[in-house]
Amino acid sequence: MGVDVAIKGLTKSFGKQLIWNDVTLTLPAGEISVMLGPSGTGKSVLLKSLIGLIKPEKGSVVIEGVDICSCSEKDLYEIRKLFGVLFQDGAMFGSMNLYDNVAFPLREHTKKSESEIRRIVMEKMDLVGLIGAEMKLPGEISGGMRKRAGLARALVLDPEILLIDEPDSGLDPVRTSFINQLFVDLNAQIDATFLIVTHDIHSVRVVPDQIGLLYHKHLAMYGPREMLLSSDEPVVRQFLNAQTVGPIGMSEEKDADQLAAEKDMALPPLPPIPLQLEPSNGVPRKSQRPPGEWCRQNGVTPPPNSFRADSVLSTSGASGA
């Protein structure tokens, strides 16, 4: 279960405006990857390119030997059955209640009986905590509930690849933690390849196996979680620690004056790397690696107090400081 997604030399622009250039990375099968970046760097565009909703000018996205960017419409609709996608606002069908929304892919693509559909739908609704709201219309519920319903719909066909666009926008911190735990549990359960696009650094620090950072029209860095969290690269460091000091300004890039003024400012020390979230049943995920393994293998000294059981809770304070 779970398949590789190989992205090579992807380039996209809208008219004259370049979105990103030459993005190359491979989402490893069965692992959780997170894509980060300041607002407006085309994270959602990247996500949409992966499912063929947006055609990039150059490059390829290969899944199971099929190139999404150049394959026929028919192949595209076939390959999309491997995907589960959660859109920013949930993208629920406004004319159907939540139950019908979640049942929709099953009714369209399978010949399951109505009772079997009911069982699957209720199971997924339970998973995202929406039991009791099945008969509501998407217009009648909050944004957070819509998002969770969208997740339930993305899950009903047991996808091999799950793409998630900003799961935490519009959710309160408690629900965000729950949904993060849900992703980890899901990954342990179905071994799908996950790609999460987000701004929430707390989630980024504890959930993924791999982190990528889009910045200034290119992929600044992509690699194992520990590599980015211990990185001294200014952009990565600034973003992952939510600091104002660094190359990212309010409008895309800082100008030379600002950078010069900041030159002598000491960067605050890197906060400790927290432990990764574990599945709630305690059984490690297949793609999970022991804490500190990457740092040891690559001879990098992690920041002090890293990988301690109590650091999971303290990171929210540390990253905000």
Binding site: K48, I51, Y77, Q88, F93, G94, P105, H109, R153
Partner: protein
């Protein structure tokens, strides 16, 4: 600069091409199984429910106005006995399809464009494509067929109501004789007039639905984009319908010779 002007000038050509390509996609989708019967019935019911009453209300004054105009003109020639046939011809041949087209485009088409546009900006269409379902086959084809079906029935409604309206005005207000109104029916009108009215209605329904769907599915830029899409779809449909109506009428007169009294 030269390329800039070229893009500006060629932009409408591109749009027309895209619209045509979209129409071809829809035609291909017509034959693809499974057919969305439920969606088709729902849409047909919906379009009928928003158009029937306005159509009937438009048809009565339409028939009356033709009766008044033609009646006045014909009286000057002293051929009152032909008022009936003249108004029947005008209503069945022209007013029926045109009134149908205006209402299908104005009430049905705008509803389709708004519906699909709202789905587009809420990413519902994207979500549908991602779930492996072609929105053209799932949403557009049933709407196009529903629009065509309803247009044909509305055309019948306009013809009947228009003829009755003309009769009432001719007989009561213009003091024509009922016998002459009815007898002159068969003098000039022929069965092929009804057929061409039906075919026109069918094609107008097709055009209205395709333009509305195209505009709706290509709406962009938030709620304002949906408003613009609806507006453009109605204007473009009207333009196209009047041009197509002219062409079809011209062809009809070439193929079917007019009946001589």
């Amino acid at each position: 600069m030269a390329s800039f002007t070229a893009t500006k000038v060629l932009a409408p050509v591109g749009t027309a091409g895209k619209l045509f390509a979209f129409a071809l996609d829809v035609c291909r989708g017509l034959f693809r199984r499974p057919f969305q019967l439920r969606e088709f019935i729902q849409q047909a019911w919906f379009i009928a429910s928003v158009t029937i009453v306005p159509t009937a209300l438009v048809a009565i004054p339409f028939g009356a106005v033709i009766a008044l105009q033609v009646g006045g003109l014909i009286a000057q020639f002293g051929a009152q006995s032909f008022t009936g046939s003249a108004s029947v011809l005008a209503v069945v041949r022209e007013a029926g399809p045109i009134a149908t087209a205006l209402l299908v485009a104005g009430a049905g088409g705008s509803a389709i464009a708004a519906d699909l546009g709202a789905r587009k900006i809420r990413e519902e269409l994207d979500a549908m494509m991602v779930l492996g379902i072609d929105p053209i086959q799932r949403l557009v084809v049933p709407r196009v067929l529903a629009c065509m079906l309803v247009s044909v029935f509305l055309n019948g409604l306009v013809s009947v109501v228009g003829v009755i309206g003309g009769y009432v005005f001719n007989v009561i207000l213009q003091h024509g004789t009922p016998g002459a109104y009815l007898a002159s029916f068969t003098a000039l009108a022929q069965m092929s007039d009804v057929w061409q009215g039906l075919i026109k209605a069918l094609i107008f329904g097709l055009i209205a639905a395709i333009v509305a769907s195209y505009k709706g599915m290509n709406a962009g830029g938030g709620p304002k984009g949906v408003g613009d899409a609806v507006n453009e779809s109605v204007v473009i449909t009207f333009l196209l319908l009047f041009i197509v109506n002219f062409v079809m009428t011209a062809i009809y007169f070439q193929i079917v010779p007019s009946k001589t009294g």
